[in-house]
């Protein structure tokens, strides 16, 4: 009675996390000298509208007022409104609207937009950084943001007794050396030089909260302030009138409703009970598109769902086997069959929106003859491997099955072992020989820190090449953008030739909304509704 197998049929394949924790990050965009000026540079709290995207995309002028109801993916008893513990889509959506971090990648991923900070500047080296706060940014209780709040927030995230989500991204801050220079300036010293610091700290889970922060009555600096929160049901917010970006948000009230069932989420939109939903399954695309009252936005993102080969375990400890496996994939077919065409083929490299992305490397295509010959050289003809998969993200299991099919062409027997997410994230998590994962859009260095260094929290391929580590350290310390790009190109070539990831595609994110709404833009950041920024959304006049 409790474990009706029919539920699986209905269940969203992605209850756990449609959107990864990840997101933005990475650096490399710092100007010479590592100076990141405030966007627009005005201190009066205007912020100049930032890179939030122009409402032009979905046409029409927006009026102020109204209640915006959004259907989010998942949601349940473990929902949280804590600024530093977001895991599921609903949590992340709340975080983006209730809180803000120092800076964040714009939805089009072109630059790091300053939010609470006015600037994040490095000193002579990229080991020391000064965070200067904007004037006139206030918490929802009216208190202005000060240096003390920044220090408190960083300490709260890093707390070794209770590390929060962001601990893995800024764990290299020398916590004891955090220093308040004046009310609006904090000096941060790092354990090592890192040009990627602004992007690392500029992620949604590193929000700035006040020193007397209480998650029971949460206060932030975001465009919406807290009204109520019921885990597994809905949360209500209202416009923060003193929000530091003039004229925003447009709507007066925001309600976020979680839907564990994808069917219910789509039905709620079709029935007019919500105004917008995220993560529309590709299978439902046509039925929603054909409805004159609804609009669909499909965003090309840098989100990737790789196959992960452990480079320190047989058979993948032989680089020729890894190369062969990368040649097995028919990427175009994967995009068509798994994503229903809603994606773009990839080239075994991540961070496509990073300015240093190595797009000059030749596109890898299926070459079964070459794959066979590599396997033969490696003495691995007739290889049989187990691929561990779980329904932790849309399309992952299907991708595994398509891969197994394609591998037959090279004489490789891939046994797909589908486990439940409890097993997947259980004792063998990050230790599987051949498995899969999912990641959001990031810039290169931030992604490397998450998954490709010996100390990375999610190094699932066990990639620990000393030469690679050395290149990354050089790049982090390099203040000249051009020189850094050269170093990063070399690092990417290494991954392209020898890495443990098979990155077959970047998947799109599809959102759907009522035709009465405007302000939506196609985004590259890999978050629904472009950074979930409901401050840019309003009802059409």
């Amino acid at each position: 009675m409790t474990t009706d197998p029919r539920l699986e049929w209905l269940d969203d394949p992605v209850t756990r996390r449609q959107v990864l924790r990840g997101a933005l990050g990475g650096a490399v965009v710092l100007g010479a000298g590592g100076v990141l000026g405030a966007c627009g540079g005005d201190d009066n709290g205007g912020g100049g509208g930032g890179g939030g995207g122009t409402p032009a995309e979905s046409g029409g002028k927006l009026k102020t007022g109204g209640l915006l109801r959004v259907g989010a993916t998942g949601g349940g008893a473990k929902d949280t409104i804590d600024a530093h513990r977001p895991t599921a889509d609903t949590d992340i959506m709340r975080c983006w609207n209730l809180y803000e971090c120092l800076a964040v990648r714009t939805p089009d991923f072109s630059k790091l937009e300053m939010l609470v900070a006015e600037s994040i500047e490095s000193g002579k080296t990229t080991k020391e950084w000064d965070i200067r706060l904007k004037q006139g940014v206030t918490f929802h209780n009216g208190k202005p943001v000060t240096a003390d709040d920044v220090i408190f927030s960083i300490r709260r995230i890093m707390d070794p007794k209770d590390p929060k989500v962001g601990a893995a991204s800024i764990g290299y801050i020398a916590e004891k050396k955090l220093k308040k220079l004046d009310d609006r300036t904090v000096r941060v010293t790092l354990e090592f030089a890192n040009a990627a610091f602004p992007d690392d700290i500029g992620q949604y889970f590193n929000a700035i909260v006040p020193t007397d922060y209480d998650p029971e009555n949460p206060v932030g600096t975001g465009p919406f302030k807290y009204v109520s929160f019921t885990p597994g049901q809905q949360s209500e917010f209202e416009k923060y009138a003193d929000y530091h970006e003039d004229g925003k948000p447009y709507v007066d009230k925001l309600t976020i409703i979680g839907f564990p069932s994808v069917t219910a989420r789509v039905n709620a939109l079709l029935g007019g009970q919500v105004d917008a939903i995220d993560n529309l399954p590709a299978a439902q695309l046509q039925s929603v598109k054909s409805n004159p009252n609804l609009r669909v936005i499909s965003s090309k993102t840098g989100a990737w769902q790789p196959f992960t080969m452990r480079v320190d375990q047989a058979p993948f400890d032989d680089v020729r086997v890894r190369q062969a496996f990368r040649l097995i994939v028919d990427r175009e077919q994967m995009v068509q069959q798994v994503l229903s065409g809603e994606g773009r083929i990839a080239n075994d490299l991540y961070a496509p929106y990073d300015p240093a992305y190595a797009d000059d490397l030749p596109q890898r295509e299926q070459d079964l003859e070459q794959a066979k010959s590599l396997l033969k050289q490696a003495g691995r003809e007739g290889l049989s491997v187990e691929l561990v998969t779980a329904e932790v993200f849309q399309g992952i299991v299907e991708a595994a099955q398509v891969f197994a099919q394609q591998a037959k062409g090279a004489g490789v027997d891939v046994k797909v072992r589908k486990v439940d997410s409890g097993t997947f994230y259980g004792d063998n998590y990050l230790k599987w020989t051949f498995a899969q994962d999912f990641w959001a859009t990031r810039v290169y260095l931030t992604q490397v820190a998450q998954g490709d260094l010996p100390e990375s929290p999610f190094n699932e391929t066990h990639w620990k090449d000393p030469k690679f580590v050395d290149l990354i350290q050089q790049a982090r310390a390099e203040v000249d953008e051009g020189k850094r790009a050269d170093i990063l190109h070399e690092a990417q070539e290494m991954q392209y030739e020898q890495g443990g990831y098979i990155i077959q595609y970047f998947s799109n994110i599809i959102d759907a909304h009522s035709a009465k709404l405007g302000g939506f833009v196609e985004a590259k950041c890999g978050f629904p509704f472009g950074n979930y920024w409901f401050k840019n959304i309003g009802f059409l006049a």
């Binding site: 009706d4 924790r21 109520s228 809905q234 069932s261 709620a268 999912f438």
Partner: protein, 317 residues
């Protein structure tokens, strides 16, 4: 009679205790634990360790169980692993919502299916009987989520827009304050249980209608109405009571699927979520509630059978 009730209640408690053991073992048998289930992809060793500490998952299995059962005996169902909230607080509103759903559904389903059964029996082997029989058979064969989605398509999203497609409640709002949200989930449950009760009612009514005392009653010249409702139905209803009770008991579990389809904020949806989180105290409490309803319904059905069967009523004294 009183002795029988006490004995059955004691047996019921024993059943519940055994179920609590089985559910506990089943949740333990799931791979991973609450910490890895809650953290999911974020399950880095540091965070798992911190959360395990916080949730007392490092205690021995036996001590975890004793802690839980000790709490239940003193009237506390423990704290949810996912929210750190007392389970009773977490579930109180949801229990009310689910109960309301089941009550509405059974208040419609039982009279409806008894009437339908009698009606079919009276038109036995006529075209309408065949149509009704086939329809109920088809409905019985359809899984309830298919029925639910069909109703949504018909009455909420595609054809008519009469009722809400999903049952959303604002915080603090209870289902009976917005009866709209109950219509489609309740209709799904009604359509799921009506076939069983009405078919058994049809069968037993036909049997009774063929009996000699009904023929006698007709020969006496009683109106058909009196024959059916005064003489036939009271005797035909016994098997239907048993089946109805079983169906009500089934609903205690069947709402899991229906609540999930409609995002109805009841204990069924909470259970699906709690299993995903391996949230032991919540899983235990919800299954105890469902099992308790099951035990109670069976007891009530037996008592009702005794009450409407003179032979048993006198024997049990």
């Amino acid at each position: 009679m009183r002795k029988l009730i006490w004995r059955r209640l004691a047996l019921g408690l024993l059943t519940l205790w055994l179920i609590s053991l089985i559910v506990f073992a089943a949740v333990l048998a799931l791979p991973g634990d609450a910490a890895t289930a809650i953290l999911g992809r974020e399950a880095t060793p540091d965070r798992v360790a911190a959360l395990r500490d916080q949730l007392n998952l490092n205690d021995s299995v036996i001590s975890q169980y004793l802690q839980w059962i000790g709490g239940v005996l003193t009237g506390s169902f423990g704290e949810s692993a996912a929210t750190q909230q007392p389970v009773s607080e977490l579930l109180s509103e949801r229990v009310g919502n689910s109960l309301f759903l089941v009550l509405v559904a059974s208040a419609v389903a039982i009279p409806l299916s008894i009437a339908l059964g009698v009606w079919m029996a009276m038109r036995r082997d006529r075209a309408v009987d065949h149509v009704a029989s086939t329809t109920t058979l088809v409905l019985a064969a359809l899984p309830e989520f298919v029925i639910g989605i069909g109703l949504v398509l018909l009455f909420a999203t595609s054809v008519f827009h009469w009722f809400p497609a999903v049952s959303l409640l604002a915080p603090g709002q209870r289902a009976w304050e917005v009866p709209d949200v109950v219509v489609l989930p309740a209709a799904t449950l009604v359509l799921a249980v009506t076939p069983y009760i009405s078919r058994i009612m049809r069968g037993s009514t036909i049997e009774v209608l063929e009996s000699e005392y009904v023929t006698m009653a007709r020969l006496k010249g009683l109106s058909e109405r009196t024959v059916i409702w005064r003489h036939a139905v009271p005797n035909a209803i016994v098997p239907a009571i048993q089946v109805a009770a079983l169906q009500l008991a089934w609903m205690a579990g069947g709402i899991v699927v229906v609540e999930f389809v409609f995002s109805y904020p009841g204990i069924g949806a909470a259970l699906v979520d709690a299993v995903a989180n391996q949230d032991m105290p919540v899983v235990q409490t919800v299954t105890m509630l469902a099992a308790g309803v099951y035990v109670l319904m069976n007891l009530i059905a037996d008592l009702a059978t005794i009450l409407v069967t003179p032979k048993l009523r006198t024997a049990a004294r």
